[in-house]
Symmetry: D2
Subunit: 100 residues, 4 copies
Amino acid sequence: MKVIVDLCVVPMGVGVSVSKYVALCEKILTEAGLKTRLHAYGTNIEGEYDQVFAAIRQCHEQVHAAGAPRISTTIRMGTRTDREQTMADKIQSVEDKLTK
Amino acid sequence: MKVIVDLCVVPMGVGVSVSKYVALCEKILTEAGLKTRLHAYGTNIEGEYDQVFAAIRQCHEQVHAAGAPRISTTIRMGTRTDREQTMADKIQSVEDKLTK
Amino acid sequence: MKVIVDLCVVPMGVGVSVSKYVALCEKILTEAGLKTRLHAYGTNIEGEYDQVFAAIRQCHEQVHAAGAPRISTTIRMGTRTDREQTMADKIQSVEDKLTK
Amino acid sequence: MKVIVDLCVVPMGVGVSVSKYVALCEKILTEAGLKTRLHAYGTNIEGEYDQVFAAIRQCHEQVHAAGAPRISTTIRMGTRTDREQTMADKIQSVEDKLTK
């Protein structure tokens, strides 16, 4: 099952600067062979369900191992059976309507 | 890895009434042996990461099979290494502060 | 515009125990005259849009004032024009399907 | 109060193609003078709390007016009092760690 996911990992108990933990997650996702795109409040991910959620599990394990005692993550996940759609398709689809 | 999750599955392309799909997910989660508690905008789930996300995968697969061509789901997921905490503990912890 | 909201406020930079900040938000929401129901990963809220988001603004302001330098909040918000629906209706609607 | 928000509006009861409604929201946000950036699963928004949530209210009202009888939206919202931070700063902060 192909999924498009938006992931936002919030480490707690490590002060206000959390970008090093977010960068760690970016590396894990990329090394897992997933297509990703970072934005200002999360990361878009495209891939197979099992592969994506194995990588997200790794993010939590490694962010804990890097010193964060608590993590609160939010995930949006889209699946569809009517047609294939990539992250780029989704953006293009909105932008087409904007220029009309 | 133990997780506390809050899951909200939104089927698209099937009209405005989606409670039968939510009920289907409740059954899947319960039959997977997970502890759950339904609220007005999602379901709290407590369990092992792999077990929880295998069940969420099943929710998507079966909601598609039941006729929804598209699904947009949101998930909150909490993990912590400092101590064990159940869903009931989390609520109790807030309620203790409210009565003070 | 009537809304059903699910609110989860995550204070950052104040350690791992955040229940006192969540309790503070509960008090703000209740004193604002909103109908609320606490669950293990957030709070259901029912009310008028302007009233709900004035109260959520107060939550952020007072959680900052109570010592949290950073807050990452997630909100689900539902509106519908086809019919009126309360938080209790939403739960009942799913439970009706479960017992069938 | 300055906020960085990530908004994802999901119209229900209008079939599987919702990009025209997302484009409508983009226009509303831009015309409200807000800084926005579209991604594959939502839109980053930067602005003052009251201005941002007045625009989000408009999104719901106009998406309903355009034909969607039900909407389920998710919002992430960040505020901080320790320092000013833009959407671009947040991305830069992570990318700095990635190149090290």
